[in-house]
């Protein structure tokens, strides 16, 4: 007796589109059960989690909350857009968190090491250095994969911890603010090194969100309309057909990693130059990992990713709101995000496969379809 997944001959187009919504609905149900088990009223909990942060939509006094949503969504969207290209080319960059930190640290170099260098050119340079830092850090797993055939999932993931520890050492050691009362963290950036806010009158949302939207539209155009996007999809679906077309899969590994590294690095420097305004040891709340969920919830489509990024940003805000108002642990945020990914993948699997309960022994068949009879 065992469970067997068998491929459906045809998958429903309708359910392919509904899948992310279905996954969200199932996550809400699972969340309600989770809160009930924690002894909270599921209705109240879900209200604080998913509705309360959105009250700014109709209540001008709470408009600042929408800005907070954009602040959280910006890095998620930027990173996930890059990852979508990576994943579609069949390169599994799991280390965006590390590239985010590398970009943040590289971009912080100017205001921290040369604080007296103050000019309008500082911010553009910081952004470029952030992009370069993310790219350089993403190049490591790419080189390892192309040159030594290592598994990029493992190398990129392990490099996250290297980046975290390196950043930790930076802000506690050489870059620590001497006036910081021994707290880890650099000096506060000078005004030329701060990423401006979009509408300072109504809230803190910064230009990172605009960069995220531009990146999403640009990558969407590249993937759906240009030869480069075609190349990404061909190599992702069939390396052999890609080679037949004349595309190089080694070069694609670099393209995919460098692009996703660049966007993660940009997200990193926008985060420290935007809302945080200095580099410290906990600049990321797991954006690089959450962005993986965003990429899949958005079905690897950059426009879908914008929507998915807002949804996942909501779980961060909701987590804070629920922590304050009903006193659940902030770990619930992680549980929620994991549940979403679980249901997204489960829905996708069930769209393509059906589950059968099989009893009895295994039979082999279908091998002869292969010619070498």
């Amino acid at each position: 007796m065992r469970l067997e997944l068998s491929k459906r001959p045809q998958h429903s187009k309708l359910f392919s589109i509904l899948s992310p919504f279905l996954a969200l609905a199932l996550t809400l149900v699972a969340g309600a059960i989770l809160f009930a088990l924690l002894g909270k009223n599921p209705g109240t909990a879900l209200y604080y989690y998913f509705i309360d942060p959105l009250t700014g939509l109709w209540d001008p006094d709470n408009r600042w909350q929408l800005h907070e949503l954009a602040i959280k969504a910006a890095p998620l969207i930027l990173i996930a857009v890059g990852l979508s290209v990576c994943f579609q080319s069949n390169n599994w960059n799991i280390g965006a968190e590390g590239q985010f930190i590398a970009g943040a640290a590289a971009g912080s170099f100017l205001p921290v090491v040369f604080p007296e260098f103050q000019s309008w050119i500082v911010l553009p340079l910081m952004l470029l250095m952030g992009i370069a830092g993310g790219m350089a850090y993403a190049a490591i797993p790419a080189i390892l994969k192309v040159r030594f055939n290592t598994n990029e999932i493992l190398t990129s993931l392990m490099l996250v911890y290297v980046a975290q520890l390196f950043n930790d050492w930076l802000v506690r050691g050489p870059w620590r603010n001497p006036q910081g009362m021994s707290f880890p963290g650099t000096v506060r950036f000078h005004e030329y090194a701060i990423l401006p806010q979009i509408w300072p009158d109504s809230g803190r949302a910064h230009w990172g969100f605009v960069f995220a939207l531009i990146a999403a539209v640009a990558v969407w155009f590249m993937m759906s309309r240009t030869l480069k996007g075609f190349e990404v999809r061909v190599l992702g679906q069939s390396r052999r057909a890609g080679r037949f077309a004349g595309f190089s899969s080694a070069r694609m590994v670099f393209f995919a990693f460098l692009l996703s590294g660049a966007l993660a690095g940009l997200a990193g420097i926008c985060e420290v130059a935007g809302p945080i305004e200095h580099l410290n040891e906990k600049i990321s709340i797991g954006y690089g990992f959450t962005a993986i969920i965003v990429a899949f919830l958005g079905r690897l489509n950059p426009l879908g990713i914008v929507a998915a990024g807002l949804v996942l940003a909501l779980t961060y805000l909701g987590g804070e709101a629920a922590q304050i108002s009903i006193g659940v642990s902030d770990k619930v945020v992680r549980a929620f995000q994991g549940t979403i990914l679980f249901f997204v993948l489960a829905c996708d699997t069930l769209i393509h496969y059906r589950v059968r309960l099989v009893s009895g022994k295994a039979t082999t068949s279908g091998e002869a379809a292969h010619g070498n009879v």
Partner: protein, 526 residues
């Protein structure tokens, strides 16, 4: 049974170890095995001969329990048995050494052997036993060597020792010498003879006629899923065995003899092409030279896995050569050029695999058209910064569909939604639409229905008649005889000189396919 075949099947042999009666296996409409009778006596080496697709592997899979027969009977030592799984086959005393090994590179020889044993046996004991066996059967092997460091021949020894540890009475060897050097093969033959001396039986699958003649006591020949002959190979010639294998049915097709207008210029020239094996199971190419003239179709025959795939990759530019002058396309040295640059010189390529090589399964036909033509037709298909002109691509795809009569269910379906024959028509049509000066096709009608196959062959002949050079690699001899002006044979990475159509016979080609030296490919009295 197809005409004029030697048939001196021995009626009741002495003491059959394994007897098979009327064994049949059907896949869809294909009768892979059709009422096979086979008797293997104790202490004999029994050859199973046949071309690719003759049903050898299917038969063996049924004997080893990995496929279930549709009908028929298997008797083991006189008792009818049902072999439901490889485990049951092993318990009966049937062991198998596969053509492609299943070994872990990172483990030692002894550890790999331990993995296949049911019981908990300490590695040390296995190593000792493996050493004894390797000494007894002349299979030198260090049980503690890492598999990754071993040669193919040594890896095969692990498989054989693994098989011998189960103390089988019947050992099935699937194309054991296809991956071995001649010296390694000689060593293997000594081992097999020693096993026969101990009364073990061996079922030896091969298409190499000389080694079957040298080694085997008895041979069963399969063709199109049927037993066409059983004989004593030592009393046959390589030529007569080849004839049994490929058949000698009369050809019904008459081809126009327009090729006597004198040869055109050489459009595709290959000179001294050699290639090291890319992996443990790929065949090295050895000093291949060939010229294809304008207006000419050259066929390359050969049993699958003799280097055709490697040759195609080298000619197409998917794998580049060391020196530019090894491959010349329309006179230009192209050996250091990639596939796109070779296409720009006027060449077109159609690989063997349709899905996943010639086409991306989940992409639409128009996108698959772009796959091989985005560079050659860049002016029509691409605008600034690489933006795809989808209307131009779709129009071209529609033209290909109409020209080649591709039947499909939707306007622009995914490649995987087409039947094999229709997708192949599209892939061939995609290249013909460019009117290439050089066309290289690997297995143009493999697994394609008769109607589509005829259409494809006609298109290739028409292309050559219009002044292009066409090179067709195929396992289907009938096809090659139908369309080629000359046929060369690929065997073990070497290519024979092309034999003009008028001088080529099935027997002569079959002999070369079986590995006879091109030098003494003499015509034999029937």
């Amino acid at each position: 049974m197809a005409g004029g075949v030697v048939d001196d099947r021995r009626s009741i042999p002495h003491e059959g170890l394994l007897e098979v009666r009327g064994l049949t296996k059907v896949f869809g409409s294909l009768r892979a095995c059709d009422h096979i009778d086979l008797t293997i006596a104790k202490g004999e080496i029994h050859a199973l001969l046949g071309e690719n697709g003759a049903g050898k592997s299917t038969l063996v899979k049924m004997l080893f329990g990995s496929l279930e027969p549709a009908s028929g009977e298997i008797r083991w030592k006189g008792q009818p048995v049902r072999i439901g799984s490889p485990g049951e086959a092993r318990r009966l005393g049937i062991g198998m050494v596969f053509q492609h090994f299943s070994l872990f590179d990172a483990l030692t020889a002894a550890e790999n052997i331990a993995l296949s044993l049911d019981r908990e046996t300490p590695i040390g004991a296995i190593a000792t036993r493996a050493r004894e066996l390797s000494a007894a059967y002349g299979l030198p092997l260090d049980p503690f060597a890492l598999v990754g460091d071993l040669s193919v021949g040594e890896r095969q020894r692990i498989e054989i020792i693994r098989c011998l540890l189960q103390e089988p009475e019947l050992i099935i060897l699937d194309e054991p010498t296809s991956v071995l050097t001649p010296q390694e093969a000689d060593r293997l033959f000594e081992t097999l003879e020693r096993l026969r001396g101990e009364g073990k039986s061996i079922l030896y699958i091969s298409h190499r006629l000389e080694e079957v003649k040298r080694l085997c006591d008895c041979a069963t020949v399969l063709r199109h899923g049927k037993v066409v002959a059983s004989c004593d190979p030592r009393k046959e010639t390589a030529a007569s065995l080849a004839r049994m294998m490929v058949g000698n049915e009369v050809m019904a097709v008459v081809r126009d003899v327009a090729a006597d207008t004198g040869k055109g210029e050489v459009l595709l020239q290959i000179e001294g092409l050699s290639r090291k094996p890319a992996g443990p199971f790929s065949v090295p190419l050895r000093d291949i030279s060939l010229s294809v003239h304008a207006g000419e179709v050259i066929g390359i025959a050969g049993v699958a896995g003799n280097g055709q795939g490697e040759f195609f990759e080298a000619v197409s530019g998917e794998v580049q050569q060391d020196r530019p002058e090894v491959v010349r396309i329309r006179g230009r040295a192209a050996g250091r050029l990639g596939i796109s640059a070779r296409r720009l010189l006027g060449a077109a390529f159609v690989p063997e695999e349709r899905l996943g090589h010639g086409a991306v399964p989940a992409m639409r036909l128009s996108e698959n058209l772009l796959l091989s033509r985005f560079r050659t037709d860049a002016k029509a298909f691409l605008a600034a910064i690489g933006v795809i002109q989808s209307s131009a691509v779709t129009t071209a795809a529609r033209r290909v569909v109409a020209d080649m009569d591709v039947r499909k269910s939707a306007e622009n379906p995914e490649a995987a939604a087409l039947s094999g024959g229709n997708l192949q028509k599209f892939i061939i049509g995609r290249e013909l639409d460019r009117k290439p000066a050089v066309m290289v096709v690997n297995q143009p009608t493999w697994g394609v229905d008769a109607g589509a196959a005829a259409r494809i062959r006609q298109a290739l002949i028409d292309l050559a008649r219009a002044g292009s050079a066409v090179l067709v690699i195929s396992q289907d001899l009938d096809e090659l005889f139908e369309i080629s002006d000359a046929i060369a044979v690929m065997h073990n990475g070497k290519l024979s000189a092309p034999i003009p159509r008028a001088e080529a016979t099935y027997e002569r080609i079959g002999l070369l396919m079986g590995g006879a030296e091109p030098g003494h490919a003499v015509r034999e009295p029937a």
